[in-house]
């Protein structure tokens, strides 16, 4: 059991560290999504952000905000990873509790 216990213990530490790093990085990334509007013959870009019940749209300009889009894409990716990490932590915690009961 010692090996298995070590692996499970290290896995919890690994996921906790990952959760922390994900939260730190997520806090650095912008919220919202990029909206492209066609007005007349031109395209205009806006950043849509929900603030409570309201959705605000901030004008970004005529040029496609590629760097911002990449950051928003990264945010989505990290959020889905965070959900997986939290599911893994919950599973490990259940195993730990079950082990402690035995």
């Amino acid at each position: 059991m010692a090996i298995l216990r070590d692996i499970l213990g290290e896995s919890s530490a690994y996921y906790r560290d990952m959760e922390k790093r994900l939260l730190v990085r997520l806090a650095e990334l912008p919220l919202g999504s990029v909206l492209k509007r066609r007005i007349g013959r031109g395209h205009y870009y806006y950043l849509k952000v929900r603030r409570g019940a309201k959705v605000e749209a901030r004008y970004l300009g005529k040029r496609r905000p590629e760097a911002l889009e990449r950051e928003i894409q990264e945010r989505r990716l990290l959020k889905s990873q965070l959900r997986e990490v939290q599911k893994s932590l919950a599973l490990l915690s259940r195993l730990d509790r079950r082990g402690a009961r035995r």
Binding site: L4, D6, I7
Partner: protein
């Protein structure tokens, strides 16, 4: 502490197997990188430890089964005839490189009394190894650059998504302790097909391991280039 693994490593050291080129490979060798070379923590080890044996093996005759029996391992057979060693905590398997047409279930290593499993892409690990001292016992493991490249290469041949992800993650984590020049000099020697598989894994790693993007960037792998 993985006490039982330490006893196995000690037994193989006493038999002089590291000097004959035998290597600890797989997730347990990553543990050695973690402990001794500063690799980031990656805990997903399997419950079997794999040892790679040079083929053909030219070492002295050793009664490995008896040596392993002293520390509680019993030999057992896979359905295909290969022999592994079993302990309540750990399974030990011996592998040899598969070359040519392949297709054999096992290879007999008479001087060690083994029936080892032949596997593809093992030569790149066998020909590129380092010795590490772990708690007073030597152990031969693949060079981290070779290990990373091997993981990134075989990831693309995995049928199971989870195994592929684990290979890519482990490969990328290993890259953290590899010098870019060490990686580049090995990658450049790869056949084009292998290089393509490694590059595909690295491209996928950008999204699969977003927290390790700085490691990928250190080696010059970004979606832009």
């Amino acid at each position: 502490m993985e006490d039982i693994l330490h006893r196995v490593l000690k037994a193989l050291d006493e038999e002089g197997l590291w000097d004959r080129g035998v290597e600890l490979i797989g997730s347990w060798s990553y543990l050695m990188y973690q402990r001794h070379l500063g690799a980031p923590v990656y805990p997903f080890r399997t419950l079997d430890a794999d040892f790679l044996v040079p083929w053909p093996y030219r070492g002295e005759t050793r009664n490995l089964a008896a040596k392993l029996a002293e520390i509680g391992f019993r030999p057992a057979s896979e359905p295909n005839g290969a022999i592994y060693f079993q302990h309540p905590e750990l399974k030990i398997e011996f592998l040899v490189p598969e070359r040519g047409k392949g297709g054999q279930d096992f290879r007999v290593v008479p001087s060690l009394g083994l029936k080892a499993v032949p596997l593809r892409f093992m030569d790149m690990l066998l020909n590129d190894s380092i010795l590490i001292e772990n708690a007073g016992v030597r152990v031969r493991v693949p060079h981290p650059a070779a290990y990373a490249l091997h993981k990134l290469l075989i990831a693309q041949r995995r049928a199971k998504k989870e195994k592929k992800l684990k290979d890519i993650e482990q490969g990328v984590h290993t890259l953290a302790i590899v010098e870019p020049s060490d990686l580049a000099s090995r990658l450049v020697e790869f056949p084009a097909g292998w290089k393509g598989l490694v590059m595909r894994s690295l491209r996928e790693a950008w999204d699969l391991c977003p927290l390790e993007r700085d490691v990928l960037a250190k080696h010059g792998f970004t979606p832009q280039n």
